[in-house]
């Protein structure tokens, strides 16, 4: 058993490790002890429990969206498992039937949309190096019915919004899509026809704010879109953004 002096010295070293005072070699030595000695692990954990609440004083900072995309890429989340449809055709995720089923669009709508997409946009050949980083959102009304689904392809800087059961919109109103960053003001993605698929190019400002902390919303606006740059009409549907 250690003398009190020795165990004090060890215990101080663990506190110094937790604070971040040790140089690289001494840090590595303590990290090794934590792996191999339950006593060291418990002592380090106790200091961590003591000091970590200090982190409450640090102001939260929302990370940009590409951080999450990078994490998914490093963990190869998108590489496996490939959907059978994508594997068969070797084509982009935009026409992966599995994805559309998964995000809950009715089969008829899928067929109609896929036709439109396939006809209107010759797909670029897929890159074998890595799968695209995709995010999806089901944009639903207060009644829970999905009005639209949106798929965001970070690598291509694109957002595709597709009608599921869109609300009826008076002819003197336009539907406008908004990105709402966590704790931030809405940013306009653009005006879109409520009953047809629409593809948006996303500039860097929007891309940086995409991610699982952001949401999408659809508001009713005058023809041509909100005159103020912020939603002026009622929000008729909204949805969280999540990884596909």
């Amino acid at each position: 058993m250690n003398s009190t002096f020795e165990s004090d010295k060890d215990n101080l070293r663990y506190a110094e490790y937790v604070l971040g005072l040790l140089d690289a070699d001494a840090r590595a030595a303590v990290a090794h002890e934590v792996e191999t000695s339950p006593e060291a692990a418990a002592a380090v954990a106790l200091w961590q429990r003591h000091f970590t609440p200090l982190a409450m004083e640090v102001t939260d900072v929302a990370p940009p969206a590409h951080v999450w995309a990078g994490i998914r890429r490093r963990l190869a989340f998108d590489a496996a498992p490939p959907s059978p449809a994508a594997a068969r055709t070797g084509s982009s995720i935009w026409d992966s039937l599995g994805l559309w089923r998964w995000i809950g669009v009715g089969a008829t709508a899928v067929a109609a949309c896929l036709l439109v997409i396939t006809v209107t946009r010759p797909l670029a050949p897929p890159t074998a190096a890595h799968a695209s980083v995709l995010m999806v959102s089901t944009i639903a009304g207060d009644n829970g019915v999905a009005g639209w689904t949106a798929t965001m392809d970070i690598d291509r800087s694109e957002l595709l919004v597709v009608p599921a059961s869109p609300a009826n919109v008076a002819t003197d109103r336009n539907t406008q899509l908004w990105l709402i960053p966590a704790g931030g003001a809405p940013i306009s993605v653009g005006v879109f026809p409520p009953g047809d698929p629409k593809r948006f190019h996303l500039d860097k400002d929007l891309l940086d704010r995409l991610g699982p902390t952001a949401a999408l919303a659809v508001s009713l606006e005058p023809v041509g879109g909100s005159p103020t740059g912020q939603p002026t009409g009622p929000v008729i549907a909204k949805g969280a953004i999540r990884a596909a």
Binding site: L21, A24, R49, T52, L54, P63, G70, P212
Partner: protein, 185 residues
């Protein structure tokens, strides 16, 4: 970073345990709920947003791979996550001494106390720590806080405070012994 409610703490624990079972949805939800807090800690430590982004990515990759080593008996999920992020940040600071130093004027370092904005009154661990820190001499408290937030070595702290290395070590070590006695009565 605001204090967490007991319900939120339980939810984060649950999400981290599910992440340990390779549940991607749980992992994503965990990221959604904690990334802003962890990124704030990384930005503060690294003093550079690009570096902080890199550290946050490394941290969450580690969270996914090592979530099984989380032991709910030893710490809360949030403590574990902050620890992973701080360890990544400090390791990187040690590898890249050129990233330092964020120039700090020692004498003007704010001797912060708990503010109402921290929601600290709801967090017992934080309250205890503040009470014990308040009993230290100002130089001890300032050194320990700066070590925690800035990830600096003894040498760097001594330079910043313009005191001999031995003096800095003595401030911090005496402070730590006093804290330990106060926190583990």
């Amino acid at each position: 970073m605001p204090a967490t409610s007991p319900a939120e703490r339980d939810e984060l624990n649950r999400l981290l345990l599910r992440t340990a079972d390779a549940d991607q949805r749980a992992f994503e939800e965990l990221y959604r709920r904690t990334s802003s807090r962890l990124f704030g800690v990384c930005v503060r430590l690294m003093g550079d947003r690009d570096e902080a982004e890199e550290v946050l990515q490394e941290a969450f990759v580690t969270v996914w791979k090592r979530a099984r080593s989380f032991d709910a008996k030893l710490s809360s999920a949030l403590t574990w996550l902050v620890t992973v992020a701080r360890n990544k940040a400090i390791d990187r600071l040690r590898q890249r001494p050129d990233l330092r130093p964020v120039e700090v004027d020692w004498e003007t370092l704010v001797d912060e106390g708990p503010g109402p904005a921290h929601g600290a009154e709801s967090d017992e661990d934080y309250r205890n720590l503040q009470a014990c820190l308040a009993e230290l001499e100002i130089q001890q408290r300032r050194s320990i806080r700066e070590a925690f937030f800035g990830g600096a070595t003894y040498n760097e702290l001594a330079e910043r405070a313009k005191v001999p290395l031995g003096t800095m070590k003595s401030w911090i070590r005496r402070g730590l012994l006093q804290l330990r006695a106060c926190l583990n009565p």
